[in-house]
Every structure is written in C-alpha cells, then in structure tokens.
C-alpha cells in the first residue's frame, strides 16, 4: 500500500549523495525532499548512508591527521 507511485524515475548517484548530505546537515528543501521521496528507494538511501558515514569518519580522520602533522 505504501509503494512509491513513480517507479519510472531513477535517482542518479549525485542525487543520492545530495540527499544523504542533506540528512547529515539536517536541512532539506521541501521540493528537493519531495523529489527524493519520488525517486529514491530505501536500499539506495541505506547504502548511501553507509558510504556517507564512512566518508564522514575518513574526512574527520584526515582533518585530524592534517592538524596533528
């Protein structure tokens, strides 16, 4: 009953990355969010979130190492 209506549209990697980045910031425009809801699948969001989490850890680590060196 809760299937996404519009299955035809496919999200690009950039769109997934933007949605995950928005989630990390906690800020999202309504129109962008509605577009996300139409095109993104839960699996894409989960995989995007995991990659985003890994990138977050790596980038903070790189920053820390840069400062310490």
């Amino acid at each position: 009953m809760n299937k996404i209506d519009n299955q035809q549209k496919k999200a690009t990697v950039i769109q997934i990355a933007k949605a995950v980045l928005a989630a990390f910031m906690g800020i999202r425009k309504k129109s962008d969010h509605e577009f996300d809801a139409e095109t993104l699948t839960p699996i894409q969001v989960v995989i995007g979130g995991l990659i985003g989490g890994a990138l977050f850890v790596i980038s903070v680590l790189l920053l820390v190492n840069l400062i310490v060196s």
């Binding site: 009953m1 910031m25 809801a37 903070v60 820390v64 190492n65 310490v68």
Partner: protein, 528 residues
Amino acid sequence: MAAVHGDAHDHGHDDHHPSGIMRWITTTNHKDIGTMYLWFSFTMFMVGGILAMGIRAELYQPGIQILEPELFNQFTTLHGLIMVFGAIMPAFVGFANWQVPMMIGAPDMAFARMNNWSFWLLPVAASLLVVSFFVPGGAAAGGWTFYPPLSVQGGLGVDMMIFAVHILGASSIMGSINIITTILNMRAPGMTLMKMPLFVWTWLITAYLLVLVMPVLAGVVTMLLTDRHFGTSFFNAAGGGDPVLFQHIFWFFGHPEVYIMILPAFGIVSEIIPTFSRKPLFGYSSMVYATASIAILSCFVWAHHMFTAGMPTVGQLFFMYATMLIAVPTGVKVFNWTATMWRGSMTFETPMLFSIGFIFLFVIGGLSGVICAIVPIDIQVQDTYYVIAHFHYVLVSGALFALFAGVYYWIPKWTGRMYNETLGKWHFWLSMFFFNLTFFVQHFLGLAGMPRRVPDYALQFADFNKISSLGAFGFGLTQLLFLYIVINCIRSGEKSTQMPWEGATTLEWTHLPAKAPYHSFETPPVVK
C-alpha cells in the same frame, strides 16, 4: 499534519475487554500494554527518586550523616540504572505503544503477544535490581556504567544487575522490532513515510538505534559475567585483557543510548509545539533528516566519554570534532521548533509549557555538552558535578519534561477526561523552579572541583550542596503533585471532547472519540 477524510465512527461496540487481574496479565492490547508501561515507569521513577532523595539528604551537609559510603555508592549506581532503564526508556515505550498505532491508523502493534512479553519482562528485571539491595554485599556499587575492575570485584548484587540488564535489553529489542514492523507494515492507506507524524518518525529511528546497540550492551555484560565466573580475562590486565576495552564497548552502546532517550522526546515536543502554535511544524522534512543524522552521528562519538582514560591525540581530536558536529542537526531542530512558534497563535496550556521549558533547558544541557566535548575542558571537568549537571539538564529537563508534556497532551485521549489545568501549571512552574535550583548550582560545584560519587566533601562546597539538596527535595515532592493530577484526572476529571486541542491534526484526534476505544482503527482510515 496529514489531511484525512471521514468522520469519527461510533466505537462503543469496540469497548468491551476482559476484566480483573487477568486482563493485565494476558493482554495483547496496545493500549493496556502502554498503560502498564507508563505506570511501571512512574513506579520506577519513584523508586529512583527515593534513591536520589537519599543521595541529596546525605550531601545536604559535609560529613557522613545517614548513608555509609558503601550504601551511598549503591544508591548512586542504582539511581542511575533505575532511572535510565526502568523509568525513562519504558516510559517512551509506553508512549509508543499508546500512540504509534493510533497515529498511523493501525489496529494494534504488529506482534501483540510479543508486546505482552516485552512488558512483563520489566517487573522481573526491576525486582532483581531492587532486591539486590538486600543480598549479601548489597547492590552493585561501581556506578551505573559498571566499569571493571569494580564490577568484576563486586558481590551477588552485580550478578543480579547483569541479569537485569540482559532482561531489559531483551525487552527493548523485542519492543523495537515490534515498533519497526508496526510502522513499516501497518500504516493506513495513503500514509506514506513522509506523511507520518514526527513522533512516529523519531520512534522508528530510535527503534533502529536500539536494535543496533542493545546487543552490544548484552555482549559487554556477558563478557563481564564470564570474567567474574568463568575464568576469562577480557577486562583484566593481569590475564592479558584491558579494562579500557570495557569502556569502549560500553560507550558504543552508551552514547547512542543517550539519543535513544532523547529522540522520542524530540518527537513528543514536535507534536505539541505545532498544536499550541496552531501552525504546521516548520521544516518537517528537515526534522526527519535531522533525526536520522543525529542517529547516525551518535554512533561515531562514544569515546568523548573517556578522554581521560588514555587516548592518542588523533583519537581525542577525532571524537571532539565528531561530537561538536552532532550539535548541528540538534541545532536545526531547536531552530525549527522556534520557527514553528514564530508568529503562531500560541496558547500556553501545560503541555506547551513543558515543551517550551524543554527547549529552554535542553539548550542549556546541549551547550554544556558541547563544552564537555572540548578535550582540554573535559579533562578538567571529567567526573565532577559539572557532568552531573550537564546530563541531568539533558535527561530530566529534556527527556522527563517531554514525557510530562506528552502525558498532559494525550491524557484526554487516553482517559476521556481532562486534567486540572491550574494544578498542571503549578506542576510545571514548581518543577521548573526546583529543577534549576537543584542542578544549576551543580555547574558551579563541578567547576570548583567537586567530584561525583562521593558521600562527603570539602567545606567550600557546603553552601551550593545545601541549595541543591533543598531543590531536589522540592522537585521530588512536586512529582507527587503530578501523581495526584493524573489520579484526579482518571477518577474525576471533567469529560473531554474528541478535540480538546483545536490545533491538533493527527489521526487519534481527528478520527477517534474523546476516549480512545479499546479497539481502534479495525477499519483503517484513508489518509490523503
């Protein structure tokens, strides 16, 4: 928030239910189980509160007055364990049981029998914790974080605590699976994920966090158990283990646990503020994204609890930066609540007062959290009363105030009766005054160097401790007023209407009669 059509149905024929004690023992009804969760958590809140009164009575003046140091340590340990695992967490599960099915238009929870079991495990665990005071050696006394080596050395009370934590963890995991399945599979037609009330969203994300971290807690207490009784040395340096390993594993559970206790509070406040501002929630999708963000980031910050345990500079900086970044999505939420109120047609009934109190005081707790995240400061304030003040601002004026707000907001729907508004406002203002009297001065005590978990202290701390203790006694007594208000509401409150709050828009208000019937939404509503 979601537009719905259709009128409230006559639910009178749905209101039959078993009676007597067996109703409560065998029930699979989400409302009954929710009620039991809420009464259980209030009972444990009173037990934990009595322990807090004991702690503050001992600290009223320097010297040992009424509690021997060993017993004092048991009081602090069990106060923390009971409040976290027995009061706050079950209270939110009680809210989830009552509200989630009604807010998504489902007839009940997905796994109704497992729901019954999830609840009835709790009194067993609570009994283990309380009875442990009376076994040889007394209750666990190594702090609510039960760090080894103290927790390896303790007596039978520690084993009882470990068993209690196992049981509570099992209960939480079952409850979470139930909530996830209910939300994902049982929403009314038309209620897409992004039309769900924010309380439901926060609980969905919280439930995932619980499933993620409760097994970690179960694992670490099992390692503790095998270290105690089966000759392993996970946390014993003499046997090749490492006591700091315990801290890492514990806090990998413990920090997400902080958000487990606050995200549903965010959800409750996000329902109440739009209702009493008579405006939709500002930035609904941002709020959902921010909640997800907080949940993800909460898994990367655990070691800020152990900056003084020994850590390379790179590790300290990593956890410091990650912790400070988590303030961003939390700040987004605070801005959104404020923007929701901005130019709203606001009224200040008790639920709204507690919600505004929540925002005001939670920001203070969040700010002191960011201060504690800074390594050089944390090294100074670690294990002082500054930290006690910080986390009580987050957990009492954060989680507990939101719970009070939620009870006042939904009790008309739960009971069909209104609470006494005047007394409710007294409850808020007295809680506000005494809470700050108790905990604000603890910032000063901490900055002046008073350590936590001590039954006695140096003379220069005497005045602030006396103020704090007086505040604590006042705060404790004020909660008896809350009990009176609730009982008075149930027994003789004025009859409520279907929509006592004109700004409310969620399904339980728009579709169900004044008192939610025993069985609701057997035919799901259609959400547009």
